[in-house]
């Protein structure tokens, strides 16, 4: 494959020679475009300069995140020797550096003719597919074809065809549409590190796909749908209920499937959520999402949704809101009420519940173990000693240490950012003292070869990140924590030394040395090992690095989308709630969007539900917890709700309601809870509040949330007196969508909680960055229009407000080391330390409702080390029984060479398997057949 790519690149290198250019950063140069002077940033290429100036110049192979290779020949401009030169020469603007005083012409007739000819060539083989192509209407090729003015086919010969491949449940392949820009391979292979998508064959027969049919292995494959400028790779889940971009009602949203809080755009049509696309945020996700985030939205449309308020144990259980409210009034006024919060509900909902039940009656719906670790994370970050790392900081870092967290599976986009950090550092080192611009992708890769920046990946078992890691350690969590403390000791000799094996000591010394050399190191850890010592160890390293580095960042990965927000509320754990209901008989519990059976072992949850007098459950999907509810209230999902999430770095971000569900019973949890509040107080109807009012209340109740109310513009924000439309101006079918029900159109739905309308009426310009419902600009219908919203291609959005950081960095704060480290891990006799193995596909509750995610999720197994397998007398695939909480499971064995002796791994979060005693010891017995 690489051969053909290199050929193309080699050709382009002959024509475009950027080597004579000296690169300087952040200085401005004056260039003359069509004889008009412009101030542009030096060090960029001409294409970036033109786009940042708002000049429409067509391109295909260039992408802000991927750099330039000059393969498509589409962005030609004419460059002149000086102001007297009238002849000029054609160059590819993406391959030409900015030089002060450069004269170029975009509108030159030769350049224009060249560009339209290139499109015409590309179109000779492009099929007559647009009507049935999912890319249509958001297609970069369509946009560029219109832009260059090619409108009539002069070529009357045959078109090339290709057979397609099956690429899994998420990506549809239609190879005929390919224009050979190589973006897919450059993204999938070079950027994301995937191995199974490549380019095959030669000359005008090149083929982009897999070696044979099969599921794309990279968990970032969904981005191909946005990276591909045509419809070769399209979203298969959208295909199930296809809607054009112009017909979607969209709103800015935040991904709910892990703690990173990637920004997304969620689109609705006919009352169903249709697709999730990336919403650029320079500090968080940039251009890319993981497949769980992109495709895990189907739960919103699930048949398993709760649609009807129920009061159980009555003749008629389904009730309307009036009956429900009457019933709840008696319940909440006559009993002690406690609230169980949720790590996947918004801050608003959790705060509304806390206010309703009172601070002392509010509990986190998570286990003591996890609660303790999360509390430690919050404490550590609140000291302000070390900055929290945004994904952008990770991409920009020059040395990364991952301590204990399997980020590939628990925070996939962070793993992608880590990869960029590693690649970026290698490129930076290779480019030192060389007159080669960083955007010159092919040349930089040629120079870098297999070099990598520093990454130490210390995890329990193997991870796909290992192959780009300089240093890899696989050990039990306690052992990893000790390694962490040992690294700190290397960095700060005043601390007491740690006893480790010789092997480990060599690695520790190497890691410490690399971190010490780094200017912008990042330390990553998290909760997935259920080990608090790791959190402390990671902090100690980061704190010690403050002495040597310019900027140190620390990132902790948490389990769920609002785990950080919930942890910051500082409530006590679920076990305390169980104690409370066991002691007092007259307790009514309100459970907020939380399946207790996913967070707690079943026997503890059972005790809770037995002892509770009444259980009021608010949730969006039926689950074991809702089965136990005495009163069940249908809650809105993220697509039907406004709310704020706090991501793993303490960044509060607002997500907006995409549509109002036709079923009036489905309401935001915080709205239900405010109604209950009004019932309790006996005043008002609880509907006078907007999200920012709840957040203001949150700030008053808990000063640690100061600033969260200004996370987004208030509900009455207007531009020139106009609201912002959720629908594009070409939204179709308004007078026919609902005419089967009644021919008179209903009044458009009103949204009192956000600056958005549900129609296309309103302000049509560029909204402030947290309020961008879709990316569109005249002539730019595809996602590439994000260029128009950025200060410069690939840079921050104009007036970007990338969320509200709730942890303040204190430059002067002196680090206090934790020092106390765990004992060395020793394998026990006949007992194994049970740890969770997370999976991108399958471990998360909500995304499992997407059939493709369920299809790709693993079967349950138990993994043990090679050394343990022999004494147990088991081989790969043989059955082993595990006894957990008086229940015995027989599971197939998977032998993992990387595991330390005495450690057992089990997939976590899969449906149908109860919560295991993670980080506890279990007995394993081989099953003799």
């Amino acid at each position: 494959m690489a051969k053909s790519l290199k050929l193309v690149v080699a050709c382009s290198l002959i024509h475009d020679s950027p080597f004579e250019v000296i690169i300087t950063n952040d200085t401005m140069s004056t260039i003359y475009i069509d004889n008009k002077p412009f101030e542009v940033k030096a060090g960029k290429n001409l294409l970036e300069a033109c786009l940042s100036l708002g000049i429409d110049l067509p391109y295909f192979c260039w992408h802000p995140a991927l750099g330039s290779v000059g393969a498509c020949r589409q962005c030609a401009v004419k460059v002149f020797k000086d102001e007297n030169d009238t002849r000029g020469r054609l160059v590819m603007s993406c391959m030409e550096s900015i030089k002060d005083g450069l004269h170029l012409s975009v509108s030159d007739t030769t350049a224009k003719a060249f560009r339209s000819q290139v499109i015409e060539w590309l179109m000779t083989n492009h099929p007559h597919d647009c009507p049935v192509c999912d890319e249509g209407g958001s297609c970069h090729l369509q946009d560029m074809t219109v832009m260059t003015g090619h409108d009539y086919r002069r070529y009357h010969y045959k078109k090339r065809t290709y057979t397609n491949q099956y690429l899994g449940p998420f990506i549809h392949h239609e190879m005929n549409r390919c224009i050979q820009c190589y973006r897919c391979v450059r993204y999938y292979h070079d950027y994301a590190g995937g191995k199974d998508l490549n380019v095959f064959a030669a000359h005008n027969h090149v083929y982009f796909g897999r070696e044979q049919n099969g599921v794309l292995q990279s968990p970032f494959s969904g981005n191909l749908t946005e990276v591909c400028p045509t419809g070769v790779f399209t979203d298969k889940t959208l295909r199930e209920h296809y809607t054009r971009k112009w017909d979607l009602t969209t709103a800015p949203s935040v991904c709910h499937h892990c703690s990173l809080g990637c920004n997304t755009i969620a689109g609705e049509r006919y009352g169903a959520l249709r697709c999730i696309t990336n919403r650029f945020n320079s500090q968080v996700n940039g251009y890319f999402l993981c497949d769980r985030g992109r495709f895990g939205y189907e739960f919103v449309n699930s048949d398993n949704r709760i649609t009807q308020p129920l009061i159980r144990n009555r003749a008629v259980e389904a009730v309307d809101e009036t009956v429900l409210m009457d019933h709840l009034r008696t319940l909440i006024t006559n009993n002690t009420i406690i609230g169980i919060g949720s790590p996947r509900a918004s801050v608003e909902s959790n705060v509304a519940l806390m206010q309703l039940v009172g601070k002392e009656n509010f509990y986190q719906g998570i286990s003591d173990n996890l609660g303790f670790i999360e509390k430690r994370i919050v404490e550590v970050l609140q000291t302000g000693v070390v900055k929290t790392a945004s994904l952008n900081d990770i991409q920009q870092s020059d040395a990364i240490l991952v301590l204990g967290e399997d980020i590939w599976n628990t925070a996939p986009v962070m793993a992608l950012a880590v990869r960029q950090g590693v690649m970026h550092t290698a490129a930076e080192q290779a480019l030192q003292n060389r007159a080669l611009p960083a955007w010159h992708d092919a040349a930089v890769r040629e120079l870098v070869q297999e070099e990598k920046g520093f990454l130490a990946n210390c995890t329990i078992t193997t991870s796909p990140l290992d192959e780009i890691s300089t240093s890899v350690v696989h050990a039990a969590p306690d052992e990893l924590a000790r390694i962490g403390f040992a690294i700190t000791q290397h960095l700060n000799a005043s601390l007491s030394p740690v006893q480790l094996g010789n092997d480990a000591m060599t690695k520790v010394a190497a890691i410490a040395a690399a971190l010490q050399r780094a200017k912008r190191p990042v330390i990553i850890s998290g909760t997935s090992c259920y080990n608090e010592a790791l959190i402390r160890a990671a902090f100690d390293i980061a704190a010690a690095l403050k002495a040597t580095a310019d900027e140190v960042h620390i990132a902790y990965v948490l389990p769920e989308c609002n785990s950080m927000g919930l942890a910051m509320m500082g409530a006590s754990s679920f076990e305390n709630a169980v104690l409370r209901v066991s002691r007092n008989t007259n307790v009514t519990a309100i459970l907020l969007e939380n399946d207790i059976y996913r967070n707690m072992p079943a026997h503890i949850a059972d005790v809770f539900f037995d002892k509770c007098q009444q259980c009021i459950v608010l949730d969006s999907l039926n689950n074991p917890t809702t089965q136990k509810a005495d009163v069940l209230i249908p809650a809105a999902t993220f697509a039907e709700a406004d709310g704020t999430l706090v991501n793993n770095e303490g960044r509060a971000q607002r997500f907006y309601q995409v549509f109002i569900p036709a079923n009036k019973n489905i309401q935001e949890s915080w709205k239900w809870l405010l109604k209950l509040q009004a019932l309790k107080n006996g005043t008002g109807n609880g509907q006078a509040h907007h999200p920012e009012d709840v957040l203001t209340l949150c700030e008053q109740l808990m000063p640690q949330f100061t600033g969260i109310a200004s996370v987004a513009p208030p509900h009455d924000f207007r531009i020139h007196g106009q609201s912002l439309p959720r629908a594009p101006h070409r939204y179709s079918g308004r007078t026919a969508m609902l005419s089967n029900l009644a021919v008179s159109e209903p009044k458009p739905k009103q949204d009192g909680d956000s600056p958005f309308t549900f129609t296309m009426e309103g302000f049509s310009g560029m909204p402030p960055s947290p309020l961008i419902p879709f990316f569109w600009s005249p002539g730019w219908n595809s996602i590439q229009s994000v260029n128009k919203y950025q200060q410069e291609p690939g840079g921050a959005l104009r007036n970007e407000h990338a969320g509200q950081l709730l942890f303040q960095y204190k430059q002067e704060a002196a680090p206090v080391y934790f020092k106390d480290m765990p004992e060395a891990f020793v394998a026990r006799n006949e007992k194994w330390l049970l740890l969770p193995q997370y999976y991108i596909m399958g471990s998360e509750e909500l995304s499992f409702y997407t059939s493709g995610v369920a299809e790709l999720s693993p079967d349950v197994y138990i993994a043990i080390s090679e050394k343990d397998a022999e004494p147990l007398g088991v081989v790969n695939g043989s059955l082993i029984s595990i006894k957990v909480f008086e229940q015995t499971y027989e599971l197939p064995v998977k032998i993992e060479a990387a595991l330390q002796r005495g450690v057992a791994l089990m997939p976590a979060g899969l449906p149908g398997i109860q919560v295991m005693p993670w980080n506890g010891y279990v007995q394993l017995v081989s099953v003799k057949l």
Binding site: P131, N164, S739
Partner: protein, 171 residues
């Protein structure tokens, strides 16, 4: 005075002219084939539904009176799951027909669509679909499109080369 008399004379003469009035509805007015009347969905020469659910008619419609949902059969052929035109809003501008890339939606010379109840002017797919190719006989989109949707195999369409053999290095 003279003018009045002249006018009366001319009116009188009209008694003997040929009648222009058409006795509608007993007698039908002759309409051109491209008259913009009732909207129909046509079928292709093989009898299949021509509409591929591309949404171009809906987006071209200035009064937004077309709503549809595309779906796909097991062979990958797109068709509308539902297709609805609210004729009480339609202005018969013919933009939908102009926009249609498959000649599926056509305006035909029939305007007799009056209803007492406005709700009856909402036409669903079964009301719109006719068993005819309409004004453009012989066109089947899937024969000229690149993709394979059960109509032709890859490379068997109009002006198509057989699929590329990726193992071949021949020029």
């Amino acid at each position: 005075m003279l003018s009045h008399l002249r006018t009366m004379w001319l009116v009188f003469l009209h008694l003997f002219h040929k009648k222009e009035t058409i006795e509608y509805p007993e007698e039908k007015a002759p309409l051109h084939p491209r008259y913009r009347g009732r909207i129909v969905l046509t079928t292709d020469p093989d009898g299949g539904e021509r509409c591929v659910g591309c949404y171009l008619c809906a987006v071209a419609c200035p009064v937004d009176c077309i709503a549809l949902q595309a779906t796909e059969d097991e062979e990958g052929r797109r068709y509308p799951e539902f297709f609805r035109i609210n004729f009480s809003r339609c202005i018969f501008c013919g933009y939908c027909e102009d926009a249609c890339p498959t000649y599926a939606i056509q305006l035909i010379p029939d305007f007799e669509m009056a209803e007492y109840n406005r709700q009856n002017l909402v036409f669903e797919k079964e009301d719109l679909l006719i068993n005819s190719q309409g004004k453009y006989p012989g066109y089947n989109f899937y024969r000229v499109a690149g993709l394979e949707a059960g109509v032709k195999k890859k490379g068997e369409g109009v002006n198509e080369e057989p699929p590329v053999d990726v193992h071949s290095l021949l020029p």
